[in-house]
Subunit: 250 residues, 8 copies
């Protein structure tokens, strides 16, 4: 769509017929595999490594999509929510590095770290680490330097305060916590950069699979905190990377 003008110029210049132009607008930017329409121009449009959401696709579908992307020149491909079982099947066709806790596979080489600064990924407890790693690996796959601060929940403030230097010097922070999710508010009150909060489904009873932490984070009394879906480490990492790559525009 961003190149409608180019296409119109070609029509005017006679190098493109009207029917060809229409065809071009409709068919150019993706490959239709039947079960999936692979976006081949996304990198141009959004400037990022391509991502495949693995959770509800068959191994065969994942292989098909990744191959379509590789064929079109993609260098780094992130596959998220890829279970160990699927990973083993996909591995027969495609080579990648697999991170079991985070359920992430990275096809190809990691890009250079070209962000504005460091991104802190913090967790309230040990049990939040898998979700945090999904965020951290996403950040690394998108060219960010990551500082991990794990198990620094608010019931023991000493642990968090001892990492104050890291928090104060971050460009953006991803705060990952389950249960009551208070970590986001406390970090939000200490930091002077954007905080992306990730509620996790860790807990039991009225944690309601992360709903309690989500509500807590949405109601944070600290300014500068926004929230993503429960357990959505990828989404937080993706947006944190965008923030860490915001550049001065004319």
């Amino acid at each position: 769509m961003s190149n409608i003008k180019d296409i119109l110029e070609s029509v005017k210049g006679g190098t493109l017929s009207v029917d060809e132009a229409l065809l071009s607008i409709k068919e150019k930017p993706f490959e239709d595999l039947g079960y999936a329409v692979v976006d081949l121009h996304r990198r141009c449009r959004q400037g990022v490594t391509e991502v495949v959401y693995g959770a509800s696709k068959t191994p065969e579908q994942i292989v098909g999509i990744v191959n379509s992307l590789l064929k079109n020149g993609e260098k780094t491909i992130l596959i998220t929510r890829l279970s160990k079982e699927k990973a083993e099947i996909v591995k027969r066709s495609i080579s990648f590095t697999y991170y079991e806790g985070a359920k992430i596979a990275i096809v190809g080489s990691l890009p250079e770290k070209d962000g504005n600064g460091k991104v802190v990924v913090a967790t309230g407890g040990t049990s939040d680490i898998d979700v945090a790693e999904e965020a951290a690996l996403t950040l690394e796959a998108l060219g960010n330097e990551v500082v991990r601060i794990y198990d620094v929940g608010v019931s023991g403030l000493h642990r968090l305060l001892s990492r104050l230097d890291d928090i104060m010097s971050a460009s953006v922070i991803v705060a990952v916590a389950g249960m009551e999710g208070a970590l986001a508010s406390v970090i939000g009150g200490l930091a002077d950069c954007p905080v992306i909060a990730v509620p996790t489904s860790v807990g039991y009873g009225t944690c309601f699979n992360g709903l309690s932490a989500l509500l807590s984070m949405l109601n944070s009394c600290a300014s500068g905190v926004s929230v993503v879906n429960i357990d959505n480490g990828f989404g937080a990492g993706y947006q944190a990377s965008m923030i860490n790559h915001v550049r001065i525009k004319g």
Copy 2:
């Protein structure tokens, strides 16, 4: 019920007929006003100032109940959830001190402070003060020394840490907070005494009238925290007083 044995002894001794005994068990401890059954022996049984819940009673009913209690020798009577409008009507018949924010009236004189130590009542924000005062006044009406620490929410940790001495030296703490309710967890992590958390309905949107704070408090990662109903300053103050009066029992 605790004196069934006394009654049985009297039956055996012949000072009480069987029918009188039955009557005694059934009719003794209260006065039935038709619209309310006033418990006249509660003080003996539970050892506290009597309390009248004013929210859903007419001014006439409140006057009737209070008079029944006064007639039976009650010295201090706490009327909770008494709106300003009702208070003005009740005041025509009964003398009391009224606290508008907390919606509390205290009939009679305050008892001596005979608790084990001090009770801290803390709030996250300015808006939580009315609920906190309901707790604080209840505590004072039940014979406790109260230390108020207001507007020390977790988005500005400096404010809370500056009152660390009060928190460390409390016998029991009532933590009152709306929005994300993180105050309870942070105080729970700092204190070495029981913390009663009171979620307030302060906030908007997903605060869901205090539900977010409630869930947060129920999921507190700090041990030693229990929770009462939303905006239930009275309940928290009442239990905190019980805790502050726990005595060594043989």
Copy 3:
């Protein structure tokens, strides 16, 4: 807390006694008004215009807090959620510009626009404009250039696509929508910058006062979208400003 080291150096150098040091750590950064603990060093710590949440404070409390801030040299003060009635009372004591729809008052002069680029504030419908203005005015009070794109909901895609240039050139976008909240996903798919989604309570029936829009935004199929509380235009504007001011750090 960031200057504990300075304080310790002064202790060592003998220019500060131990008790003075302790006092300094505890009492320095705020003024305790009883009903509110005003944070006087926040600007240093977080680099922003000071904000007063007006919703649950009395006009007298607001005047007290604002005067405390002005006395300490604050240049620009944003008062949010200030109803027209309260605004008229506060205005007797303090001078400010009042925006009725957005319920915002700005005390003092607006800062220079020093962000990395432009911030787009978009709405799905006419009814979302008040919340959007809360975001837009917050952004302007924090030094950002704002582009408003209102009533471009997804049921008429033509309207949104006609503003594609603004969307493609933004540094960060605030997407404000009620009802089904699909605007955030569609903008998230078109833009290559972070999108902060604000669900509004606009709608009826199963909109559940914004819950439907909130859930929709949290589940956005577009990457790079994070969410704030329902109707929280201020929170979105505040974080968008932080993102628009992210600088390259060593």
Copy 4:
């Protein structure tokens, strides 16, 4: 019931006794198998292929019902929500074509396509295809021509816009989507025919097993959209077929 008049006429004409008439009203239109009352006149009354909901019936019950229908002359029978395990058992007694993803079995031959036009079945993602196929196969079993448009979710508008011709020329559209369910609103805004929206349980966290998509669809800002139960591809297909068979009545 529609032929009460016929029955009364027969009573009057003396060809039917009163008791026979009563019997006729009560016992005619179904066969009672004990565990199920099979409706044998439904086709006459509603003009459609017969459907058996397989989810909570035993294979033996399904065989019994299907045989009762076949015995009464039914040509095409659709069995929905038939798990692979049950299908294998039922297949020992009855011959049918089984579609594993859609969990549908079709007994007998497909009817002719006699609808007013084409029915489009669209999905937001690859993971919605199973539900979409339940709708598509139901439509085909009821005599409709179906156009499938899969994986055209709103986070990549190009994909959807490239199929605009199909959307503009449909008689009715079934829009199947999980997560935030925005597909229904965007299609509803583009199309000039009724849209039946099917939320799917695809997603995680706050998708709440399809509730988020359902709410989104119910709050659609586009007119002409109605909604069926989560994952109810059959219901959407069934109603879409009814709409595609609406005829001009006197």
Copy 5:
């Protein structure tokens, strides 16, 4: 968008410059009033009377939008959710017929009845009539013949069965009910045409403002039933009209 091809042809033919073409695509189909982007080509695109949602607009905004539509040749304009108070203000500037119960205003003349057949609008009780009238008037404003069957709830089946002829001969039925919403299922089982169910917020306690009726309708055991938002008489009428105007296509 539907005329991209025309525009491209003009570019090729030289009657339109490339920049003019781009402008044409972007600016043609609507007028931007600042607070609202009025869609002026919708009638062409979707073939219906124009609709203005009045609930969250000021009287001034409504007048502005209606005038913009009238200026562009619109003959019939439906204003929904227009309160009596607003209606009186708008009436000073624009002439219309106002229906107080249904909160609907119709500007201009009603179109001819050109649907495929009759549309039945039925209610469970007397209290559902306002919502039903919103549907019925919408249907009439869009060119449909309407049959009203009110207060025929399932607790007195006789009432409903006595209208069986109307139900059996309808092209499409709008079933409006609050409380337990069973009307939709019973009608769905009797009719052989599509049923659009409208839950209403009528009831108390666990009716949860229409949620109970909504859930009941979504779970209808009758096939051929779809559902719109609570109290959304307009949405049901609009879709019913679409269905009643489905024509045989190529």
Copy 6:
């Protein structure tokens, strides 16, 4: 419907034409007032005083319905949920006794008490009395002897136990309680007759307008307890009357 056989016999006997028979089935048992279809044969069919639900009807509609019933020979008519304001308007046309707390009007004379035994109506607190009176007056209007036991909540067991004789000798009990609704379980454990539990919306915070009491009652550990809608004193009284009138059938 119960007299279809009579109608058929008349057809056969020639005293009724087929068309007259059809008409008879369709039009006999009610009068259609346009806004309401008044059931005139209900008393025969269900054997009870007629009831008009007043909550969502206009005073004019109520007058119309009551007059239709009176004209057809009804002796006692119960109007429920009739606000004081409406009652005053209706009273200009119809004579009745009005009970303000219970919002009930009784037209005509009370029937004789012909139940199997006494019905106990008990409440947990003073605030539940209005709902309890709705049940008690309904019971009296339907011919039952009622024993009221008010303010006997479980937090003071003495009060309840003192009324054990009434509880043990009841034919059926209506237990009315808000807050935690424990009254139903305790009474259910003590009584040997059916208990109909009525949750009330009394309470605050997590009482969620009666939802907490409702859930508590549905989960009662005592057998023999069933539940009606929140605040539905009428429904409980109506069913309790049915139970108190169960007779030995062949």
Copy 7:
């Protein structure tokens, strides 16, 4: 408790010492097995066959409780929610008849049928039969004659109307239905006896495991309907039996 008077008389008469009396009140009516306190006088007190809830007890605990009851002379014991696996273990120690679908075991012989009339148990669909059988078997174990009417849901009214005679002649009806639960309302409108509604967890998506049916039943527009917990066939059967055994009391 009912024999306190007897005990007191014995005290007076000297046949019982005070301590023995106290002991008698406290220890008489149950046997404490450590993990369970078996109520041995319940039959006297409530007049029913004893019931053991098997769901959350170990086979060993069930055997212990049943033996304690048998030892005390109980003739018929109903064990509910007994899984097939547990039943097989328990069967090694105790003899009983087991009903697999209903998960019910009956120890001992069935009592005589001594109810006032017949109890109808009806279901909406085939899938509701297991819950209905729990009700029906409970009824039979408590001495009732049961008429089963299965698969008569409201989407095919013919099926239900054909059983009108059974419905009209019942003493009490148990209506069991999942999905939208409309069966209870329709039967409630037809019958002139109490209806106990049992929502079942049958369905998918927004049936929310029976919540939709529960809400529907609580909001029934038919009078005389009360509701028990989801899938609680036992509770409905138990109360229906109580109703069917209501006798005329002095």
Copy 8:
């Protein structure tokens, strides 16, 4: 943090350099294992046995944390929520006593009983015993004498009343109940000490995994009751121990 003053004194005295002081504040009180930050000074600070939450940690992590604590001189360590499978793996490395029902492991010896009095742990039913044991064992591990009163639910009041002596003489009571959770209110009404209520997830249908009991307990009409998370026996035991150890403070 409590010893900042000591550290400052050392700095002033010259026995600690500024950098050493900073290091001391930051690193002293815990050991960072990477996946967990073990708090080694908690016992000093809060005076209790150390606790490890085992639910979401790997056996290896648990071993690492326990060894870190043992190495630092901890005498008694409580591991909660330790499944049987994990317990068997951990047992290969560490010696402890394991309680299967309560899922608790206790490393080391039990401390002396030094509480103010006895703590009663009561349950409503047999099925609540596992959660109750979690509370009871926690209490014993923290130095309390525990009295167990199991299966005394309110549907059979005799059972509870027979244990009145224990209830009246307790210092604090933990009331554990699922289903409708009425036990807490009844005990709260009888006792004169604090009651900590623990809702359990026991039940089915609308028990909603303990939500019903939780709401019931939060709305308790008895004063002096506070609540912890569903199934949180540990949390209740922990706070009850704190209460039982409240001492008179200056």
